[in-house]
Symmetry: C2
Amino acid sequence: MGKIIAIANQKGGVGKTTTAINLSASMAALEYKTLIIDSDPQANTTSGLGFDPHKVQKSIYECMINGFSVKDTIQETQFEDLYLIPSHINLVGAELEMIDIKNREYRMQEALKEVKNMFDFIFIDCSPSLGLINVNVMNAADSILIPVQCEYFAMEGLGKLLSTIKIVQGKLNKNLQIEGILMTMHDSRLLHSNQVVQDIRTHFADMVFETLIPRNIRISEAPSFGVPVIAHDEKSKGSVSYLNLAKELLKRNKIK
Amino acid sequence: MGKIIAIANQKGGVGKTTTAINLSASMAALEYKTLIIDSDPQANTTSGLGFDPHKVQKSIYECMINGFSVKDTIQETQFEDLYLIPSHINLVGAELEMIDIKNREYRMQEALKEVKNMFDFIFIDCSPSLGLINVNVMNAADSILIPVQCEYFAMEGLGKLLSTIKIVQGKLNKNLQIEGILMTMHDSRLLHSNQVVQDIRTHFADMVFETLIPRNIRISEAPSFGVPVIAHDEKSKGSVSYLNLAKELLKRNKIK
Ligand SMILES: Nc1ncnc2c1ncn2[C@@H]1O[C@H](COP(=O)(O)OP(=O)(O)OP(=O)(O)O)[C@@H](O)[C@H]1O
Ligand SMILES: Nc1ncnc2c1ncn2[C@@H]1O[C@H](COP(=O)(O)OP(=O)(O)OP(=O)(O)O)[C@@H](O)[C@H]1O
Ligand SMILES: [Mg+2]
Ligand SMILES: [Mg+2]
């Protein structure tokens, strides 16, 4: 098994971290052994799961730059079947440090080889950029899941992201697939929110997940308690939607 | 005059572009000659003002890399007293191209010298990152205005951003001030939104603007029409709040 899925979109604030945390937690709840990797120096996935980024000793940074073993960076979370490789502020410097390193685009792909088959799923939360760390993530990933906020600006950047992915597929990682486009923060009461969903479904048809993630207060509260929404309020629309997403992902991958 | 204000925060989706567009438009409405510079390759400010980023001939990129004159990149907008330097997808490559250039951190500061006194205010919209382009912006700016979404994750990153600014003040631009912290997308009905505002006001006291920008549907609709919210719906809470922000900024700078 061991499918590696990058959660990426260079547009900021579209729900990458929220999706990484809650999709991973839902997969673990369905008893799939899941690893989540925080590759963003902001370390929101790390703190959103209750860890203190300032206390992190080893992150994916040490594996890429210093060749540390990935196994030594994996932390258990309070949730069964859910494991984390935390982030660290050092990641900010990684891009410049890696400029002169041999094989700089493939350091993460190399590092993850030893753990790929220890898990059913590995999700990687990305920063809102198109730098060397994200190139590393795209080379390490089997597929990329693209969260898109139901807003005008988020729609605008989608075309650019898809052409960037084509370049990566052509030059660096020909096996990279698109796992799907996930519509997030949908508000069915707002005309422009519904319009964006319609436009994206028309343009991208079955690349778009059926599951729509609603704007939901429980989702935005959960990180301040350091837990996924499924642990904060299991019955909320937010929890149900991410569990549905996990099930749809399994169906699309013909698992179970 | 000619105050250069960077609108920056490495956290994504906090309202940088929305603030750059609507604060600039409000200043222009108050008859201050205003220039807005889009330094983000996503070019959301450019399209949010009705320009097609694919048709842009010259951006701030050409000034920083090829030494083009900034005056030649300035475009008039349909709004009196509001001018734009658009963005271009080439900006994505700028960071790597500038690595070997002399004085690479000060290219934007150099470029803006010739136009600084042609305007009362120059606002620069930044991408959600801490790379070389944003370092250039911080060196060119007199001050930095920090939009912070009324959400837990946005609050988390604020400490890191302020310590980054201290490093820039120490090493690169000792004159860089903090113009203020602007709370955005505030929803008074939500407990956690009010809690974030309270926490930030307690920690940062008068660094925080009095003006709170509410979550407002007219603000998120306006970009799809290519106009600032003041032109989309002048009477909306969104328009009024950004006009109040412009007035507060003038008061804080003891102008008028
Ligand atoms: N479905 C939702 N309902 C309500 N709030 C949400 C939802 N999804 C995300 N949020 C909130 O919106 C904000 C942005 O989401 P998030 O931080 O996950 O985006 P991101 O793409 O990871 O941002 P960045 O580009 O900075 O990495 C967060 O404060 C989050 O709590
Ligand atoms: N006060 C508001 N009320 C409602 N929607 C808003 C408000 N401010 C911003 N938005 C919407 O939220 C989204 C994020 O805002 P915006 O794109 O301005 O953030 P940003 O910080 O520039 O993002 P990036 O980090 O990608 O540059 C946009 O779709 C915008 O229209
Ligand atoms: Mg994130
Ligand atoms: Mg922006």
